[in-house]
């Protein structure tokens, strides 16, 4: 395929595939629905394969760090050893086998949960620094809402003030719904704009 025709071929592939899928949201023809379902299944499968590609890439990066001695090569070696052992165990035992679940429960879960746990500290520190450096009205409103929600989520006997809880309930059902709805609509409009740019050929990320 010539250099000029290849990009056009890619564009046709993207637009045709996307066009058939998009039409299926509003047009209910059996033939269209059948083709659409096939395309969706292919896309789902390819996305899974793309994740494998990402993993391959990660392994290559770390392998290169080992064979071309660079800083952090020891860590890469540790990572690859952990990968190989886990891969063998889970592949033989199946993803829901007892040993696979053991690895998940006693290695992956503690590490991931601990990483989120330290966020509790880091969040308080980050927001404290933000409000000390820049106590403008918006930051104070942000932090005031956060404090109200944290206090209203708990039920300390003797300190339960109904008006605090009522205020929190009103905020979550009115201003928060308003802000969140605006955010959702903003995201939705952004998604439509970006998607249309792709389907109209104005944006072609697959050529990079």
């Amino acid at each position: 395929m010539t250099q000029r025709r290849f990009p056009i071929f890619l564009l046709i592939l993207a637009v045709a595939g996307g066009g058939i899928v998009l039409m299926g949201y509003w047009v209910d023809l059996p033939a269209l629905v059948a083709v659409r379902n096939v395309l969706l299944r292919w896309a789902a499968t390819l996305t899974g394969v793309a994740v494998l590609l990402g993993i391959l890439n990660l392994l290559t990066v770390h392998w290169l760090k080992i064979i071309q001695p660079r800083e952090g090569g020891v860590y890469s070696l540790v990572m690859l050893i952990a990968f190989v052992i886990t891969f063998l165990v889970v592949a033989v035992d199946t993803p829901t086998g007892s040993w696979s679940v053991w690895i998940f429960r006693y290695i992956q879960l503690p590490v991931e949960t601990s990483l989120l746990a330290i966020l509790a500290v880091l969040l308080v520190v980050a927001v404290a620094r933000l409000v000390v450096r820049r106590p403008d009205s918006f930051t104070l409103l942000f932090i005031g809402t956060a404090i109200l929600f944290l206090v209203a989520a708990t039920y300390l006997p003797g300190f339960d003030i109904p008006v605090v809880r009522s205020l929190r309930d009103w905020i979550v059902q009115v201003p928060v719904v308003a802000g969140a709805r605006g955010l959702l609509l903003g995201i939705g409009l952004g998604v439509v704009a970006t998607g249309l740019r792709i389907l109209l050929g104005a944006d072609r990320p697959y050529e990079r």
């Binding site: 789902a44 000390v132 106590p135």
Partner: protein, 374 residues
């Protein structure tokens, strides 16, 4: 207070300005004010909610600062993060000590100080949906949260899952996360430990495993589940036993329940799977961080979401309200420790806010007195 890392780069000329500057000191261009929105941009699940096109220079500084502190996924943490400044380190260690000591004291003291919350109206609706399940009714139980959120999500969801099993409905686990299969096994095994019952596949539940493709996969599964997921998580045939033989589309499930910490994941389920339900209920079990962002779907009046239980408080309230009890019920103690942790966070933020306002007032007074001097 100047800090070499907290400077704003002018988009026009590249000059490094102090964070508080409103105009570039070199070329006079506007430097838009920072805003706390990017505080959350680094937190898992919140990225889609922060419109990155609005990042201003000062927000870039905050992103860098927060990226150093808030990254929780392994890759980000490997990027040479090393908090250097003594003041920041002291604050971080001090905050850590306060939180750790308070929680340790609460866990060791073993006294349930805080009372349990009551069910919200949306959680009541959720409970009614589960009560409406008949024996053998297939329930799609979507386990779509990152493993790091297991603590919260287990406390949130185990009461609901126990209720579903008490109704003798048939949960079918599915996940759009690759860790979902193991996550579901751990979830139901831990429930077994807490109820003293060993739940067995395929007699009492099924684990379909990982559904790839994000929105595309979801839409595809909604229309043809048996074709898209023909096998279970460990490679066995999935659909040959009742009550799953009659499942031809998502609407053949009696209830679809999505458990997630990510607003974007929940939004994808609502957008792609919701229209395929054809009136069957969609319930959300949400992390506390996702609930505010998704409230509009619950309150849309169009029936997009029919019930919602959120956070540890939602899970504790649900567990208290249902007719069953879990055998090892430590929710009293852990609930108190959790509540105490929230209070400590609120107090620390309040102190920081008061200090910030005090500093601002003092700086303004100093400026005024400098202006008054001859």
């Amino acid at each position: 207070m100047s800090d070499e890392d907290d400077q704003v780069t002018c988009a026009e000329c590249g000059f490094e300005n102090p964070l508080e500057a409103e105009r570039c000191q070199n070329c006079g261009a506007d430097l838009p004010a920072a805003f706390a929105e990017n505080l959350l941009a680094q937190v898992p699940g919140q990225e889609p909610f922060i419109n990155k096109a609005r990042i201003t220079p000062a927000q870039q500084v905050h992103l860098r600062l927060l990226g150093e502190m808030l990254a929780v996924e392994g890759q980000a943490l490997l990027l040479g993060i090393s908090p250097r400044r003594a003041g920041y380190t002291t604050l971080r260690i001090g905050t850590s000590l306060v939180l750790f000591l308070v929680l340790l004291f609460s866990l060791l003291a073993n006294k349930p100080v805080f009372t349990h919350p009551s069910l919200t109206s949306e959680a009541l609706e959720a409970r009614q949906l589960v009560y409406a399940l008949t024996p053998g009714a297939p329930v799609l139980f979507v386990v779509d949260y990152q493993p790091g959120f297991s603590g919260e999500m287990t406390r949130l969801g185990q009461g609901v899952l126990a209720h579903i099993l008490a109704q003798r409905a048939y949960p079918v686990f599915l996940s759009t996360h690759p860790t979902g299969p193991a996550q579901a096994e751990v979830f139901i095994t831990d429930l077994g430990i807490n109820t003293g019952i060993a739940y067995l596949t395929p007699d009492q539940y099924l684990n379909l495993g990982y559904l790839p493709g994000g929105p595309s996969g979801l839409l595809s599964f909604s229309q043809a589940p048996q074709q898209v997921m023909p096998l279970t998580a460990d490679g066995n045939s999935a659909w040959q036993d009742p009550p799953l033989q009659t499942i031809q589309s998502l609407s053949d499930f009696s209830l679809v329940l999505v458990m997630t910490e990510d607003p974007d994941t929940a939004r994808t389920w609502i957008e792609q799977a919701g229209p395929q339900l054809q009136g069957k209920p969609l319930m959300l079990l949400l992390s506390a961080q996702a609930e505010p962002s998704l409230r509009p779907y619950l309150e849309s009046g169009s029936g997009q979401v029919q019930g919602m239980v959120s956070g540890v408080s939602g899970g504790v309230a649900y567990q208290d309200s249902a007719v069953f009890t879990l055998q090892s019920d430590t929710s009293g103690i852990t609930w108190s420790a959790y509540s105490l942790g929230l209070w400590v966070g609120a107090i620390l933020l309040l102190l920081a806010g008061l200090y910030g306002v005090f500093r601002l007032v003092r700086e303004q007074e100093n400026e005024l007195s400098r202006g008054d001097k001859p």
